[in-house]
Symmetry: D2
Subunit: 486 residues, 4 copies
Amino acid sequence: MKRRSIPPAMLLFAGAVTLTRPIVLAADDVLTRVAAHAERFGALSRQIWENPELGYHEDRSSGLLQQELRVNGFTVKDHLAGAPTAFTAEWGSGKPIIGIMGEFDALPGLSQQDIPTPSPVKKGAPGHACGHNLLGSASALAAVAIKEEMQARGLKGTIRYYGTPAEEGGGGKIYMIHAGLFADADAVLGWHPGDSNRVNLGSNLANNGGLFRFYGVASHAAAGPERGRSALDGVMIMLNAVEMLREHVPQETRMHYIITNGGAAPNVVPAFAEVNLIARHPDMDTLNAVWERIMKCAQAGALASETRMEFEQGTNYTSILPNDVLTDVLSRAMQKAGGYQFSADERQFAAELQKTLGASVEERPGPDKLITDKSTPQGVASSDAGDVSWNVPLGHFTTATFAPGVGAHTWQAAACAGSAIGRKGMVVAARTLALGAIDLFEHPDEVQAARAAFEKRKAGRTWKTRVPPNGKPPLDYAMRGQSDKS
Amino acid sequence: MKRRSIPPAMLLFAGAVTLTRPIVLAADDVLTRVAAHAERFGALSRQIWENPELGYHEDRSSGLLQQELRVNGFTVKDHLAGAPTAFTAEWGSGKPIIGIMGEFDALPGLSQQDIPTPSPVKKGAPGHACGHNLLGSASALAAVAIKEEMQARGLKGTIRYYGTPAEEGGGGKIYMIHAGLFADADAVLGWHPGDSNRVNLGSNLANNGGLFRFYGVASHAAAGPERGRSALDGVMIMLNAVEMLREHVPQETRMHYIITNGGAAPNVVPAFAEVNLIARHPDMDTLNAVWERIMKCAQAGALASETRMEFEQGTNYTSILPNDVLTDVLSRAMQKAGGYQFSADERQFAAELQKTLGASVEERPGPDKLITDKSTPQGVASSDAGDVSWNVPLGHFTTATFAPGVGAHTWQAAACAGSAIGRKGMVVAARTLALGAIDLFEHPDEVQAARAAFEKRKAGRTWKTRVPPNGKPPLDYAMRGQSDKS
Amino acid sequence: MKRRSIPPAMLLFAGAVTLTRPIVLAADDVLTRVAAHAERFGALSRQIWENPELGYHEDRSSGLLQQELRVNGFTVKDHLAGAPTAFTAEWGSGKPIIGIMGEFDALPGLSQQDIPTPSPVKKGAPGHACGHNLLGSASALAAVAIKEEMQARGLKGTIRYYGTPAEEGGGGKIYMIHAGLFADADAVLGWHPGDSNRVNLGSNLANNGGLFRFYGVASHAAAGPERGRSALDGVMIMLNAVEMLREHVPQETRMHYIITNGGAAPNVVPAFAEVNLIARHPDMDTLNAVWERIMKCAQAGALASETRMEFEQGTNYTSILPNDVLTDVLSRAMQKAGGYQFSADERQFAAELQKTLGASVEERPGPDKLITDKSTPQGVASSDAGDVSWNVPLGHFTTATFAPGVGAHTWQAAACAGSAIGRKGMVVAARTLALGAIDLFEHPDEVQAARAAFEKRKAGRTWKTRVPPNGKPPLDYAMRGQSDKS
Amino acid sequence: MKRRSIPPAMLLFAGAVTLTRPIVLAADDVLTRVAAHAERFGALSRQIWENPELGYHEDRSSGLLQQELRVNGFTVKDHLAGAPTAFTAEWGSGKPIIGIMGEFDALPGLSQQDIPTPSPVKKGAPGHACGHNLLGSASALAAVAIKEEMQARGLKGTIRYYGTPAEEGGGGKIYMIHAGLFADADAVLGWHPGDSNRVNLGSNLANNGGLFRFYGVASHAAAGPERGRSALDGVMIMLNAVEMLREHVPQETRMHYIITNGGAAPNVVPAFAEVNLIARHPDMDTLNAVWERIMKCAQAGALASETRMEFEQGTNYTSILPNDVLTDVLSRAMQKAGGYQFSADERQFAAELQKTLGASVEERPGPDKLITDKSTPQGVASSDAGDVSWNVPLGHFTTATFAPGVGAHTWQAAACAGSAIGRKGMVVAARTLALGAIDLFEHPDEVQAARAAFEKRKAGRTWKTRVPPNGKPPLDYAMRGQSDKS
């Protein structure tokens, strides 16, 4: 009976993924298990959506997920890596250890009701405009289904849920890597809410950012400007130089900034000024070379204005290292999992949202499409999932939780994340994760192949991060208006 | 008896003022009257100091002054010119009408105890760092003494106290001018707290300022920077142009600014950015010509960045038009009024404050010195008293309410304004005002001469202001972090 | 016998061009004819190389080509389109009219001997660093061979040589288009010297440029800077704004400039300053939109500095509209024409040149490789051949006239253009052109198909240029240090 | 008889110079001698005016002056201090040694006929727009008259003419100081053409300047901008920073610049760019402090753009140290010397020139006025006479060689310098110099007093220059478009 409610897999296999072996039909069982829990985890996602919490302060969100996983037999370790809301939840024992990642932090200022017009629940409050309420819940739903399937079939190994806080700029996963929590994992699966169902070899942008603080000498701006040294001059000289730098970096580079403090009073030479700048590039090594030049621009600003510059490290995320084998595994899984159809109400909701988007969205694929291929699209966002991908084989995909054309970090995304659309897309994610993980537990050779593919892509390079190994997570970063990641 | 406590007038007559007639000894009576009320009004100044209120929100300060003047027989009109705290208090009738101005607003963020170490009463709270608690109180003290003297001697005319709110950027006096409250006045006397006792023909700086708001188009700074139009670019193009303008304006010009909004998030092309800029020059016409060019810089910023610029008028104060006759009157009055000596405690207090000043202050004259001359020093601050001076003959001076070397708008000034030093300097001011006003009531020809001197200095020019005649005072300006004046 | 000296066609057919019909063997005859004239035209190319002439001043170079074509029975029309060195040379009559384009202008300052070390013939003098000495000569060689082949086989139609001057920034072809000289052509073939033999569907960059002249008011910079209006300020405000624009245009955009006049004397406020700026983008419509914004930056510079700005239109080249059918024709022709092998001396020469290049060039294909495919590489240069391609079906390719890795506009290219390598590559070009043109004369349906493909690619868009239809060519542009094109 | 032709001394003694002793009537003799030679030296000034020569290339001008002085019995030493056109001419022996300075270099690009409309003799050629043709000739005329008077009266001591080349930026006097040529002088007198006759205690501006050269890495601006490092970016970052510096230096500071090289071709990332910048301030120590900050701006430009910056020292002139005693001597001398009246033609000529000046000049004093006082006007030009004044007591004045209102370095000044007006003003100068020098020879105590006044003004400070003591004069500076001084 339940199976009827599961959307049928798409027959059309888009792209060029070569299926090396037939899909194992027994995996259907795990889909049944996902279906059995879907409603409860959907409600959980809504609960988190209704109480959006900023990075490192996801106390209630993290707690709800931990509780659900405990109830289902998982062993939870919390307060990990110096972060109160970081946790792992495990079931099983021994190898292989397969991880599934869940995020649950919200974004500042993006509060939104679940309606297709811009309307915050509370103005200026956080909102789930990146759909992490769905992310954490779908991954937990998958974990529970996988555990039941492993248990039922006596599959060997460990399923581990990674509760990773503060993805939006706080870099929770990086602290968890430093704490060794990914060291023994054999493969990790992750997903992200999106406007379509996709598996491919795409990557995203490595980023680096932080606060450039300039310290000058205050003076009355009319009575003694020559006695002052303007910190804002330092900022402007730096930024003028950064603008000129744009011509001389690879064109895929991004450098963007705001002035977070531009002086205290117009009649006082500013003694303090501050820039929040993020740079990005698909390749971390290239980005690091660009970053050195940005740093020189900042130093030049201080030199020329006779001010002092201090840099506080902020975001630093590596771009995703795609895994060829896990992309195959997840492509097969998604084809098996299938997409979904909008109901009449959902279609109406999506159409109204799309009307609020500037550009035409007619050509975007709907939630019934499954776009699994070996293309290498260049994503334009950044995520600490990239850092995980350099430490352990990572498989990654998106599902259609947002109306076609809706981008992350918008009020439209926040509306979808609290709606039926979001919850349907979340089930596609859970089904794909569950099928993929069971596939790996069933085929240890695939786990080994994923490791080999991982090493091949790394090609001798090692993961580097500017986040210090012994550092404490910046628990209050989200309250300071500091950088967020995407 | 009481007269003993009055500091003797300085014998040394500094400067080059030519006394055209002997000082009228009968005026001594008004000094006795000042002395009789000095302690009560000193306590009033302390009360206002303990409850510092920002511009247009000086409800309690204004109320206390009104009450004291009412009690002393003045007729008070309040809620004038659209400002709840603007008032006049009159006694007598007919011509001449001699005005005495009082201010009572505090400065944001300059809370300070009456001790010689930086120590706010409440961090971030307002404070009387410009000594307006003394200003309003001394003027009221003088008004009461003058009224008593007029009454005793049957002098003809009207003494009018102007309770002028929001001098620190709100331009209260300008709205009172627009409301016609200075139209029938024959002469107005004013003073300002300072670090020495001085009467001269100096002026200050005309100023003009406001908020330049740039409106662009937001876009994800990594995913679609080419779809965004950066309001911060508009700001930076404007400000780069303003910097280049510096070479090509008269060297006495001042242009200073802060960036009050430099974008919301580093990963979003800023849709809004804002500059608060003030320009100044000794001459308003020159300043107006410079201002047109600043406006072009702002328009250029919008043009080049494809953003929209809106300007919100802020501060606009004319520089003081000195009055040769009233300067003579006040010079004589101050020489008669005399300065004061520090007590041992006060000397100690002043010395400790001076230690906190960067530069040497040894050579600054003490409170016993009376520096009355016809010099034309160029002040570096701005005040809406300048606007009054273009509408009615204005006489103006400073007294030593701050320790020598202490400048306005500092914690040191706030400390002095609450101390015995401040109250002693306030009495010098009240004595000078009282002697000056009585002199004018006694000598109608002097009032006429002051008018003639006024017309001569104006030389056919008329007062202009950017504050619209029908405008409502910006009652909340001080809460918006907008410009203050000095 | 002669055929032995002809390099054999490469058997390896690189890429994915689909051959729809077998290569016509009779075309071999035209290769014999090319070979018969190759030495003489090679000597002609050397003669032009030894006397490098700048755009619109190629009197001797143009004359030599005209003479050779006249001698071979072509009817020459010279002094066309207002340009003394523009000409056409025709043979035959009626349709189809197949054009072959030849250029012959040199580049300023790139004088170089035919040796692998940087050594100008005359320092600062022009040089053939773009290989146009080969370009014009190979095209003429092909035209002669084609004429002979048409004559021999009685092929119907007209072969027309376009002698197009001043490609390096002067836009000779655009004036020839305006003069109607391309209006009746059915197809045009062209080529360009390069470091490899390639036919594909690639395009290049549309460009637009010119001189931004700012006029201010001079004044003694120490005695009266406030009376001056700095034209250099106008330039700097404009350029600062252009730098900020970089973030907000498509990343493939290029904007580059020099300051051609930055003031006359350091003690005088500059009354004149000038910028030479070129912008580029693969798509002319996108470029035009960007250009409007550059113009706003310039206007903003004038507005903010109170100077006047005048723009003088310079370079404006459209990007190439590829022709699918002519690409097929030329791919087949090049495969038939074949590449060539370096002799031992040439290999040595090439190797020494390559050592002077910064980057590794090991992986670049040699002159024996023929890379014909349907790829769409994005070229990074610009040419007025692009404008031709929007008016008539244009087929285009490169041959290996430069050592692998050598780029145009370098002393290394100038050295190759005068060497045996250059002349061998020139013969590959002539063979390809000759085979292609004969193919078209033999197959009128192909000419029709080329026209259809042309219309399809245009998709209703029409050619637009900023060069006015009635304008006179800027005959002295190359003497004024103005923009060159690539 | 001759005395009739001498303009009568002005009776009106303007200003506040206190005459400590009566004017010695015998000095009239020297005026007779001046008159005797005036016509010949006037013709000499015209000869130099007709052959304007740039700094260090005044071969003919210097030669003519040397010849005239030799003929009159002076001993000439030429080719001094490494400069072919520097010389001294002496007569007499022993102490005191009184110097008189003469300049004779022209300004580039200021060729002008002796008519009141802008009309170069030869467009772009040099011209005597600073009147140095008069300067050198009047000083020589005075020297000859002084020698005759000394001879006639048996006055002890040495009269020495300093032929100082390249005042317009080449700093000839500084090299002559370094060569020890001023070491034994007791006092030096100098003058400069102007629009009025003035002696006072004024000074001028110290200056410092030079070339900031930036070296980057060239790259094709469309094909590989990211491989280039733009030298022009270095320049613009530096200059943007200099613009911001303006707010934070004393308002009397001047900083002005041109971009002498802004890149070679718009399609190449500039590998070289150059700024010529001069800064000035009345006080050399203040200027030196500002200069360090300008240097930081330049270093910041290099740092931020990853280019290399080299600085080549140019102009460095100290401001004049006034000498109170020599000012007295020259005031008396000028009052004795007298001014002159315009003839009807000269008045007409002056009036037509004045019409070409923007501002009203009605109130400027005419050539009959003698303005001798102890005022301290702040001059806005710079001169290497300033450096002399720090090494030996220097007396300095101007005479009315230009029509009232005409400033130096204009075509109007060049016209006057070749006209009768110029020659009349030149005679006033020669008379003043002659009277002054004879006064000093007659009164050795005055020479001693001048030395004492010199030491008092120096107040322990010593002359410093950035021109190295062993350096060779920059003989070709004027051909390189480098800085000129004024």
